[in-house]
Symmetry: D2
């Protein structure tokens, strides 16, 4: 995670008051998300890809303690000098660290101790804020965006953990007054931009290193669907034998469907199961009937690509998606505001615009996650953030129902391996014109 | 786990008062052992061989609820009808069950709920005790022996879990007034019985199915060491290149040393590490210097066998061991009495007898775990207990510092796979005469 | 492979003439068995458990070259000094060696070169025979028994290789005039010896180290079946759901049936498949209909044990088997005489004696392969032969249709892991009386 | 493998005479390449990624037999109707096929039989050529390009097989009169094209489906090295700790270096080993000293990327490479002409042009292998060729010393997984300007 050059530009004076408020707001949401969790809930790790909630809470705190307090606050003493080994994630430059798949064995420190760690670091940082200058403002901003990423992971990791429990625990019960379910809307095509477009993050506002620099790309004539693919459409893909038709799948994807990755064959999205009433899915509110009008989620890139082939379409490139979203409001849509019910939802059509670009479900693109022309990795530990993951993964755009509002933007590049699907991942169709 | 015929002999009248007291004593010890544990400590599972403490507490309770209350108490309603799926262990006849390696993901029910389950079943069982007749007495006795087995596992499983935590948690601090350390004693040989001996459990007292029936075996002239091999002797084995000398090892053992089982080479007992002051080992009281006069423990059968080869000796057979222990007091020695410090200790020599036969460390024998002549499996779910594990494992005798006092006896046959070593496992040498 | 003490007793004079003839006879059979093989057939390795035919031909030659010519013939120069690295099997004391699973990649030396190696070593050894004294006679005898073991492996390994080829190659076509098929005979029980019996090989005749020394064992009353279990009986076990009934199986066996060992579930003996005409099996003569009256073969210990449980019986111990076979003729029965058709066959009943004790199929016993009381490993490289395999395996008795006649005897202890079944392995039932 | 639309454009009349000559030339080269191989050499498979030489010879023949003779020659009878199951590669639409990792077990048919198969198909096809019209010409052309791909694989697969043999077999001895070794040349930078460029194969000449259609890309200012990275430069990367510096590597690459993929750590290119005289490498002429002036080869994408990071540069994109090569002669350079010595070689500088664009070593680009804008998969079995591999792999450009001359072109897109390195794979540096 490297701060963009503009973000690192030293502010004229001390770190502004607004940052203190923003800091408190973001930090408080993490604690609120974990509030329903027991000590054990917050400790368990259900798979190597996931991390314990306690670890998310501590790791994000370690970021501020290490890169701000330790490095910029003279005389600061670590809360516990043994903890950096436990809560460093992958920053090789910061030294050895606890093996990732063993995170679930860290029953100590307890959740209560981790919450005390958060409180202590918050107090130290907020107290020091008026004295911190220069690069610190940029590092704190970076740390808050980093924390927002972990808020989303905390939710998806807990969802995975709870899904492994036959009792089907509920994080939050569904909203008392659920909105009237919408009918499934027909999909419509919208022409995209053609010719040279500018891609990437420029000088205004925060952006991660991987969104930079601004550069040009040529787009051929194409169209995008007005909305993500729905659960209803997906159930028709299943019924039509989509998971049993080799010609629809990438070669790696077909091996994955046949169990290469998991030991058992894949025949539906993650968290789905059949019941007498139809398809059910596991949600943060427990097992629920699938809402056919809502966007499909928890699908892998392989599934998204096969569905697109079945539909006679393709996935959009990340550039097509970004060009289409450039003028959309990244603060709109189904995103995370507070600790409470989180799930993709059907959205009413919006005239002739594209809906659900931001929030609801991350949208797989057909673009491999590789560096932009002109991309450079920053020096030092924070420079390890994004560049070293640039092989084997695919770009997702837009954000999900679990993305904290304010975190998403058109240039944002999320990335996962093509078999991963425990995030709120869906797709939007594209086609050549 | 099948009750022996004599144990199942219907008592003359109702279950005696003494059983209620014994029941309360055993059940209370389990709770006491878990008292230092947090909800998270009690939930985590550090490897597939181990189970969470919470699971041990619940599974032993499930045994009483299922085989006594459900089957013999008219009108009994299950505490929670979803829990048998979670807390059945391997009784195929009792239906589907939660996958063993996933036990650590059961963050719900909480430790507090499991303790409430224990209290409810105890209350129901103790209340019903005067009315229970016939086979129930035998089933309760069986359940208590079963619970004692799980008490030992609970301790060794927690030890393994804590060993995975870089913070090195302490279950109980060492005793305030540690006994004066004993010097290492020279090993002496004692001749064993020769000719036909009777082996196995007869009609007096409780015994598991695998200890039966009594049968005859012929013993050739041999001698047994008066005490287990010590840590001091083991450190000389290491210094002499024992772990690097292929000719000392069984072929499977050599593959195991070379990392076949774990991904990394083996060069010392489990839980040992070098420090500037010499060998340290992880204990339930944290990292401690190795006591050279104490019995070595946490070694695999392969290691025991290689050490014996290095020493120009061999492992005893289970029959040689049992014949030697026939007249020893199974209630003597370093065994588990209360919740508190647990570790093997050096024992002073006892004239010309054998020491540490019971307690301290389980002793690997050279006997593969197979059925006795005349062994029969009992019908029904409890009949699955021991017979189906009779391949690939080796017999251990005597008990350890974590075996509840009263559980061990000369005919007892414990068994583990030859690579396993998270129990308090050691060895005693034998040789032909 | 350690020569027994008597075998190592120095002969009075030079190695006798008879040994030259025996040497030539055994060595010629190996070449004859490989005669139908192409260079590629002789090179391929179908699984890590198996070895290429070429490797068998070379390794057995390496034994004579190393332990006789190199060690006892002054001035002998190795045929090729790079080859010992290739053709040593597991003698750690003889230095590094080619990784076992990579044997099939040794396309060079060619089959023709290996045959030239055999001829050169044979010429050197036969030429030197009059001058070789003392231990050499014993080493040559050992080498010939060793070669006979590899003759059997050569056949079973080729059978496995050919079974992997969809073309179903034939090593030898079936005998032109097949004997009239026998009807399936009812099984009858015979009482076995009771009380103390002597077990193991004494001072007359060759024996491997693991058959020694003679020692006493106590046998309880029991009976043995007069013949091995037949394919017909096995097909009834299948039809009765034997492979789907967990309670019949050892715990490790059930995991194996469910695919733990192979990735796919087990539902019949190795080499069986269903056809429209019933069960077929792959043989050295290609795919053939199963002969229901012939002994079942290519079953694992787990399958043998489960079948016995289904039949209300058990496997015999190795001592029961040896005691029963003590007075039977080990040269009788269906054994390997020449290069030609090899398969188990139905055998007519023999009055009230036991049939098929020797030859036809190896019979799994219920005895884990462990050292006899008083067993000692010999020093040096040849001492590595049998002792180091004494964990995790089970004893088989009697020999098979692929065992060279003259190799079997009542005290012979063959051994394999409980899941292995590419040998001609079957079973005979036993029961307690 | 789908023929491009222009390639499938029906010729005006019957398939031309020139095609018969080209067919004979290409087909003869395959046989010549295999001439030094024994039956066993041609059968063995050293890893799942590789195929036996015999399989390459048969599979390429199966292509002509299936898609030309079977589909277009009325009355044609298959050479052996059981063989398509064996020699189909991955065309799901053509039905079931032999498992890829088991190809090395097909000791039958023999090499001689496969050569007879080739002769029979050649005779049938050449005989029928005057009568074949329409799509057949395009299919034959496709089959010949397909065969050329397998010629390169045959060589690299044999190289891998021979490298596994401690005897280090030689396919062809080095040329009797080796050219005077060239000194290592300093690397120079050349500016590349900037702005919109046309990428992809147009209507003239043969091209695979994945090179199409022509489309536009925008290139930012950049420079390319005038020649590939040399072995000398690579040895300095090693000496500078390149393989031990995590910050140089992609995250996946670092896991691969640490043994994730192979069980052992990576510290040099494939086929390298240290000797007293310096680095040696295994070649088709056996073990040879590394030529420091020659291009490095047998490196993975991960290694190429790490080297570029170490050098302060990056890999070129496939578009930058193609734009630079557009006017270079694809018939020039170190490419495969006849059966004989094959190895990368140092090339003298060529004024201020780029050298070694074609031949010598394939050059890893930084471009993930994904479909071109407007790419479409063709229907039917041949349509499976390239599209379904478009995930997880990276594009390589240019060709190698083992690429048959005439096969390479600027638009050619080769692709491999980032860990694969048994091809002649190297790299050329690029940088932003």
């Amino acid at each position: 995670m490297i701060v963009s050059p503009h973000a690192l530009r030293p502010p004229a004076g001390p770190v502004p008051e607004a940052m203190a408020q923003h800091y408190q707001h973001v930090r408080a949401l993490s604690v609120a998300l974990a509030a329903p969790l027991s000590d054990a809930d917050a400790t368990a790790q259900s798979m190597p890809d996931a991390s314990p909630a306690k670890w998310h809470l501590a790791h994000t705190t370690w970021f501020f303690e290490t890169f701000v307090l330790r490095d910029y606050l003279p005389g600061y003493r670590l809360f516990d000098e043994r903890w950096p080994f436990l809560f460093n994630s992958y920053y090789e430059a910061e030294g050895a660290r606890h093996a990732r798949p063993q995170r679930g064995l860290l029953t100590r420190p307890t959740l209560a101790q981790v919450l005390a760690y958060r409180a202590a670091v918050d107090e130290a940082l907020l107290g020091a804020l008026p004295m911190l200058t220069g690069r610190c403002g940029a590092l704190i901003e970076l740390g808050l965006h980093h924390e927002q990423q972990h808020q989303e992971l905390l939710l998806t990791d807990i969802k995975h953990l709870f899904s492994c429990n036959p009792l089907g625990p509920v994080l939050w019960p569904p909203a008392a007054e659920a909105p009237e379910p919408l009918p499934e809307q027909p999909m419509r095509w919208h022409e995209g931009s053609v010719g040279l477009v500018e891609i990437g993050a420029g000088a205004d506002g925060f952006a991660f290193d991987n969104e930079q620099p601004v550069h040009r790309q040529f787009l051929a004539p194409h169209a995008l669907a007005d909305r993500p693919v729905t659960n209803g459409e997906w159930s028709r893909f299943i019924a039509d034998g989509g998971y049993a038709t080799a010609s629809l799948w990438l070669s790696d994807g077909w091996a994955w469907v046949k169990g290469g990755g998991t030991g058992e064959e894949i025949a539906h999205p993650l968290y789905w199961r059949r019941s007498e009433s139809g398809w059910e899915q596991f949600t943060l509110a427990g097992w629920r009937l699938v809402d056919l009008a809502a966007p499909v989620s928890h699908i892998s890139f392989y599934e998204a690509d096969a569905f697109a082939a079945w539909a006679g379409a393709r996935l959009p490139t990340e550039q097509e998606w970004e060009a289409a979203a450039r003028n959309a409001d990244p603060l709109a849509g189904i995103q995370l505001d507070t600790a409470g019910p989180v799930a993709p939802r059907a959205v009413a059509g919006q005239g002739d615009g594209l809906t659900s670009l931001f929030g609801n479900v991350w949208e797989w693109t057909g673009s491999a996650y590789r560096p932009y022309a002109g991309f450079r990795t920053a020096p030092g530990a924070v420079g390890e953030y994004n560049g070293k993951f640039m092989s084997g993964q695919f770009v997702l755009k837009g954000g999900s129902c679990a993305t904290p509002r304010g975190h998403a933007r058109a240039t944002y590049r999320n990335f996962f391996y093509p078999h991963q699907r425990w995030q709120f991942t869906g797709l939007r169709l594209a086609k050549d014109l």
